[in-house]
Symmetry: C2
Subunit: 419 residues, 2 copies
């Protein structure tokens, strides 16, 4: 029977050259995060379908790969709808599984719980260039730390990692959901429509302030509110110190600790950072997921015009699932984007040992075969990579292929040894 | 909404202590296999359902987690059977995906293609202690090498890896499907019933030679054949050199190169090995999968009474799928068993740096917070791990917990610094 040669729609085979870069990045990430006290954990790729459809996943819940019930549980004749057929699904993020994991193991975990997760997630998005239906996520989360110590450590850990991977001149753009809300309140928008306001604000980088004003009006918001809101952003644009500007404007509308805390976060990170980047307060950052309750941040690579990750504080989420409020904050590196950038830049994995290829004539007598293997084993003991292969008829082409793979030395073994 | 706290049936959450050992083993495995010229690759966890149900997976095909069709493709009203509902499944091994990968990318790959795959597979087995429905497999395969150079390198790579992980005194038990068949032919069993004979032979270690003889008779095999077969094994038991004994007995029944090749494999590995193990010819090794065509081998840990991996030559399989015969041979480490053994032995990951915990009093002023973070960053630059956490009310208990996690140094930071 003939096999379908292609991977399933929207998923990809990873070739050796990319795999080498991925493995290198994974090792740098794991090592760096361990230095910040994060502990690796893993959850199954399959989650209970109830957990995946509990409204914490936003639009991702529409993109679930669902897993058919098995055995007696599957009753095809009685099934009326999709939900009757499935009891599991492939996870679409690592946050829902983390919250389940935490609630399952809370008593075994030291608090605060600093978790590192690297694992695949699946979303049945429309396939497009550079976006796949299976991709790796790389999340760090701190559960149980209510203060900005969580934000500071998350940002430092993530940026130190990016720095070690060779990234420079990037930005961490930071905002606060409570500032977003206070600005909306200050302008007199009705609370139940804040999310609509934020969806429009989120387009600022594409449509500009004029566009935001126009869309707010078109969406039926009060003209005075829309005008006041946009004036705030104009004022911010001109202000030499944006946070002080907002502190004054929003006095009485916002908890007095929010802005000083955010300022402390930014200043502490700036003073202690170990990579070439800037932390920038950006009042237009919104972040889609509705579960964020405090700080929100994004990694911006300005040269590339893309975001390479983000995160924020989601203090309410654990409590929603477990009934007990526990503060939480997380930061996710856009692993696949990082890999894509490194591949496009022709990144070479550093510190690789010598690569030697032994070419063995066909039908070598046992003693010469043994000698070749012995010498290969000896070189490996010295940390070298040795590929032992049969010599092809077209030896020149074979050596060229091996050179392309990074082999720099060749030895040949013949029935009567001349190599 | 309350979350289901437990992982789905038969799958497990991995705790930090196990994760540390897993990460360490993965890094040793990848490093060692790279030294042998194996290249890492990855395929999606989801495969086309046709590929998973093509009869190459043996009994595993009954254990597939199937994935529901999506959107318009799913026609619940018209569905008559399971197959109408699904178009994908979670892979149950890494061999079928490897063959698909090879056939998809053959033109981009240097030959022989030496692949390393580490990845999860899923089987809906009945859950039991130590056996999970999601588990990691670790396979190396050489595609395109017809001679025993493949076997020699696979066994050396695998055993060198096990040695570096601290395993000693184990065995590689090796056999040949063509010897198995020749022995059955010698005894006069009908060729179409060889597999039945081998299933009975496979029980030798449990039921002994008498049991094998009895079961052969009970299964309706010719008494003379059964007796001749068991005499062969008796003769083998007594023979000082088992391969020479078989070479004589099976003359004319077996391709004359098979036994000398196997002998060369064993002797070359013995002469060049870099770990404490023995290669043992074991004519009772069968290996379940029907796709094996030549050498078959298993890792036996005699002290533990279990097998920790295995593999063999499957020259026919690639051709069955692609229409073009390509020789192939693979070796799989039982990754989860290795981890279980290391966990039970209280394995400590070697070469870990110092672990320091900074305890910060609540409500530290910004300058002292900054100083603490600065010092943490400095220590991290020196390769140390530094956990920065808020001081709990019960500081003694907190330190005890941290000590259990491996932290050996503590520093305390107070609003008026005394630490």
């Amino acid at each position: 029977m003939a096999l379908k040669k292609k991977p399933v729609t929207g998923m990809k085979d990873i070739m050796p050259a990319e795999m080498e870069i991925r493995d290198y990045c994974i090792s740098v990430i794991k090592k760096t995060y361990a230095e910040f006290g994060f502990q690796g954990i893993e959850t199954p790729c399959v989650e209970n379908i109830e957990n995946l459809t509990s409204k914490s996943g936003g639009d991702n819940e529409k993109l679930i790969f669902k897993i058919l019930k098995r055995g007696e549980k599957l009753r095809l004749e009685e099934a009326r709808e999709e939900a009757d057929l499935v009891d599991g699904g492939l996870r679409y993020d690592l946050t829902v599984p983390l919250v389940r994991y935490f609630s399952n193991h809370e008593n075994e975990l030291a608090m605060p719980f600093k978790a590192l997760q690297m694992g695949n997630v699946w979303r049945a998005d429309r396939p497009q260039k550079g976006r796949y239906r299976q991709f790796m996520q790389c999340d760090i989360d701190i559960i149980g730390e209510p203060t900005n110590l969580a934000e500071i450590e998350l940002i430092l850990a993530t940026t130190t990692t990016l720095g070690r991977l060779g990234f420079k001149g990037f930005q961490i753009r930071i905002n606060e959901r409570r500032i977003l809300k206070a600005m909306a309140a200050y302008s007199g928008f009705p609370e139940e429509r804040y999310d609509e306001v934020f969806i429009i604000l989120d387009k600022m980088d594409k449509i500009g302030l004029d566009g935001v004003l126009r869309e707010l009006k078109e969406s039926g918001f009060d003209e005075a509110s829309a005008a006041s809101y946009c004036e705030l952003f104009e004022g911010l644009e001109a202000a030499p110190d944006k946070l002080s500007f907002l502190e004054e404007k929003l006095e009485g509308v916002i908890d007095g600790a929010v802005i000083p805390d955010l300022r402390e976060t930014i200043e502490t990170v700036e003073a202690t950072k170990q990579a070439d980047f800037k932390v920038v307060f950006d009042p237009t950052i919104v972040r889609g997921m509705s579960y964020y309750t405090g700080t929100i941040f994004e990694i911006a690579m300005p040269e590339l015009g893309i975001s390479c990750g983000g995160g924020g504080r989601y203090d309410g989420m654990v409590g929603k699932f477990t009934g007990k409020d526990v503060p939480a904050c997380g930061f996710s590196i856009g692993f696949e984007r990082i890999i894509l950038i490194l591949l496009e830049q022709g990144f070479k994995v550093p510190g690789q040992g010598e690569k030697i290829a032994f070419l063995l004539e066909k039908n070598l007598p046992s003693d010469i075969l043994r000698e070749a293997i012995e010498r290969a084993q000896k070189a490996r003991l010295e940390g070298k990579s040795v590929l032992v292969v049969r010599m092809n008829k077209n030896k020149k082409f074979q050596k060229q292929q091996l050179t392309d793979q990074g082999y720099t030395q060749f030895e040949e073994f013949y029935a009567r040894q001349i190599g």
